[in-house]
C-alpha cells in the first residue's frame, strides 16, 4: 500500500484487537490497515464505540487487559513495534511515537508541577542532558505551544482546560517524534480554544515534519485539520482517502450518510441522522456490518463480508458496490 510520493513512516497491517468479555470475545479493531507518511495528518473518525481509541492504543502498544492485540503488524520505519520487548518499546514511546490520550487534560499528574512533567521525558530519553539544558528545553517547548514559561512552575489545577491541553501537546512533541497520535485532543474545549490548540499542533507538526494521527468524530475538525481521513465502522476501517476526495465524493454509504448528516451554518435544514443504531459488536449482522442501515444494500451484503480494496490511487473502501472497481 506504499504510494509513489515518499516512504511511509508508519505502516499498520491487518491490526486486530479483542476484549475478553463475560459474553464472549469482542473484536473492537478488526483487520485495520493504513499508512502514514511524514507530514501527513490522518484523521480517524467513526461513531462512539467504533474502535478508534482501541486502534490508537494498540499502535502505542498500550492495550490493557482484558484487551489483547491478536493479529497484525505496526511498522515504524520498518520495525514491527509488536515484536519489541517492553524495554525497547519504552525507548520508542515519546521519542519516536508519542500519544496525547483521550481526555489528556485529566491525564496530567495533579501533584507534579508542569515543568517537572515535561522534564521527565528529557531525563528518560536523553542520557547526558544537564539540568540547565533541561530548563532551557522546557521554556522552549512551553513557548512553542504558546504558553508563558512561568507555567512550568504551576500545577495542572491552576490551568484552564485549553492550557492543560497545550501542556499535553507540549509533552507529546518535546522529543520531536516521527509520529504523534492524539485522541480527541479538543473535544472538551470550546470552539475558540479548540481552533487555537489545533493550529498550534499543526504548526509544531509541520516544523518537526511529524505525521499525526488524530482521532475524533467531528467531521468539521477533520475537514479543517486533516490531510487524509479514515472512517471506522464497527471495528473496521471502511474508507480511506485524501480529505478533499472524502468530502467531495464519499464512496462508502456510511461515509456518505455521515457527511449528509452534518449541520451547516449557511443554511437551515431539517437534520437527518443516519437511520438505525450502531451495531452491538458481539452481535454483528452477517456480511457487511453496515447492511441493516445502508440505503444501497444488496443481496450479497447480507451474506458476504466486503473486502477492503484500493478503488483508486489512495482511495480504499470496503463495500460490495465497488467490487468491480477494485484494482
Amino acid at each position: 500500500m506504499t504510494s509513489a510520493n515518499g516512504e511511509a513512516v508508519l505502516k499498520v497491517n491487518n491490526l486486530s484487537v479483542e476484549y475478553e468479555t463475560p459474553r464472549g470475545m469482542l473484536r473492537a479493531a478488526d483487520g485495520v490497515s493504513f499508512e502514514l507518511r511524514p507530514g501527513q495528518r490522518f484523521g480517524l473518525v467513526g461513531e462512539s464505540g467504533s474502535g478508534k481509541t482501541t486502534t490508537a492504543l494498540a499502535l502505542m502498544r498500550l492495550t490493557q487487559l482484558p484487551g489483547r492485540i491478536v493479529d497484525g503488524e505496526v511498522l515504524l520505519d520498518g520495525v514491527d513495534l509488536l515484536g519489541l520487548s517492553e524495554n525497547e518499546m519504552r525507548e520508542v514511546r515519546l521519542a519516536q511515537i508519542s500519544y496525547v490520550p483521550q481526555g489528556a487534560m485529566n491525564s496530567l499528574n495533579p501533584v507534579i508541577k508542569v515543568g517537572n512533567q515535561i522534564a521527565n521525558g528529557f531525563k528518560d530519553h536523553l542520557d547526558s542532558i544537564s539540568r540547565s539544558e533541561i530548563s532551557e528545553r522546557i521554556v522552549e517547548v512551553l513557548r512553542s505551544v504558546g504558553l508563558d514559561p512561568a507555567v512550568s512552575r504551576m500545577y495542572p489545577h491552576e490551568l484552564s482546560g485549553g492550557m492543560k491541553q497545550r501542556v499535553a501537546i507540549a509533552i507529546a512533541v518535546s522529543l520531536g517524534p516521527k509520529v504523534i497520535i492524539a485522541d480527541e485532543p479538543t473535544s472538551a474545549l470550546d470552539v475558540v480554544v479548540q481552533r487555537e490548540v489545533m493550529l498550534t499542533l499543526r504548526k509544531l507538526q509541520e516544523e518537526i515534519g511529524a505525521a499525526v494521527l488524530i482521532v475524533g468524530h467531528d467531521m468539521g475538525l477533520m475537514a479543517q485539520f486533516a490531510s487524509h481521513v479514515g472512517v471506522m465502522y464497527a471495528g473496521k476501517l471502511v474508507e480511506v482517502g485524501q480529505v478533499l476526495d472524502i468530502f467531495d465524493d464519499p464512496f462508502h454509504p456510511y461515509t456518505r450518510a455521515l457527511i449528509a448528516s452534518l449541520p451547516s451554518t449557511s443554511r437551515r435544514h431539517r437534520l437527518t441522522g443516519i437511520p438505525g443504531l450502531p451495531p452491538a459488536l458481539l452481535e454483528l449482522p452477517g456480511g457487511c456490518s453496515f447492511n441493516p442501515r445502508c440505503d444501497s444494500v444488496m443481496e450479497i451484503c447480507r451474506s458476504a463480508d466486503p473486502s477492503y480494496d484500493q478503488i483508486r490511487e489512495g482511495r480504499w473502501t470496503s463495500c460490495h458496490l465497488y467490487a468491480e472497481a477494485a484494482t
Partner: protein, 340 residues
Amino acid sequence: MSAVLEADHLTRVFSRGLFNKVENVAVNDISLRVDDDNPSITVIAGESGSGKTTLASMLLGFMRPTRGEIRYRGRDIHSLKGDDWREFRRNVQPIFQDPFEVFNPVYRVDRILTQPAQLYGIADSEDEAHEMVEDALRQVGLRPAETLRRFPHQLSGGQRQRITVARAFLLKPKVIVADEPVSMIDASLRATVLESLRALKTELGISIIYITHDLTTAYQVGDSIYVLYRGSVVEAGNVENVVQQPSHPYTQLLMGSIPVPDPRVPWGDDLSPISSGDQRDVAVTGCAFAPRCPHAFDRCEDDPPHYRLDDDRAVKCFLYEDRPITDLESMLSKNTTSPI
C-alpha cells in the same frame, strides 16, 4: 401572552478568597422569558466559563440568584411551596451537561425512567409506564432491550446524555433547560437527538432553553439567541440574523472559530491573532471583551456600552454608537419564533 417562566435581571456573584475577596460575576443582569402559547427554542451561547451553567442552575431553581428574580407563572419560584413547588419542578425540567452525577447509581435505567412516569401520574399502570419508557428510549436512538437493565455507569457518556433527553420526552414538561445536551454525542446521532428536541417543540409545544458553545447546532434548532461573554449578554436577536450577520466582535470570533465541515473553507483565517482567553482576572470597567477585541479603541476601556442596533437585535458594543438604543425588554416580549 402569558409567561410560564421569566427571569428578571438575574445576577449571580461568586466570591473567592477569605480575606482579599475577589468577586466573580458569573451571570450579569440577564432577563429572558418563555411564553405559554408560543413554544420556542432559545439559545444561550458562549465560551467555557461564560456563565451558561450558572444561568441554567438558577432557572431550574437549583441556585439562588444574588440579585433578580425567577418567576414561574408570575410567582417568584423561591416563594413556592408544596404542590406549587412540585408543579414548577415537574414543568421545568433539566437536561444536564454532565449526566454522570445526575442519576442514582444504584438504580437501573428501567427504574430511573419508570419512577418519575408513575410519580407524576403520567402513566396509569405499570405496563403503560413501561411502554412509554420504551417509546421514549427509541425516540433518542437507544435500544430498550439493551439499555433498561443497565446501571448508569454501564452506559457511555453519550448514552447517559440521551437517557436524560428520554426522561424529558416522558415527562412532557412546559419548559426544558438543556445544558449542552449533545456535547457527548457523535455527529451521526446528534442530528437525531436535535431533531427530537425540535419535535418536542413543534409537536408537544414544549419550550426549550438550549445552552451550548456550538453555534452550528444552535443555528439548526434555535429561534432566538443570547450570546454570553463573561456573564453578560453581548448580542441577542433572532438566530438567523445573528448567525448570518454576527455583529458583536465576540460573536464574530465564535463564528469564525467553527471548523466548517468543508475542506475548501478556510478556518478563521481572517481572525486576528489576539483571541486567547484566560483573561479572567482583568478588572472590567468598560467593555468586558475589550482586552481581546481586535477593534477596541480608547472608549472601550472606560465605560460599558449600551445595547444598540435595531428593533430586533441588541449588540453591546461601541462600534454601533451611531445606532439607536435597543430596548431589550420589549424585544424579549416580541414573538421571535421563526418558521421551520
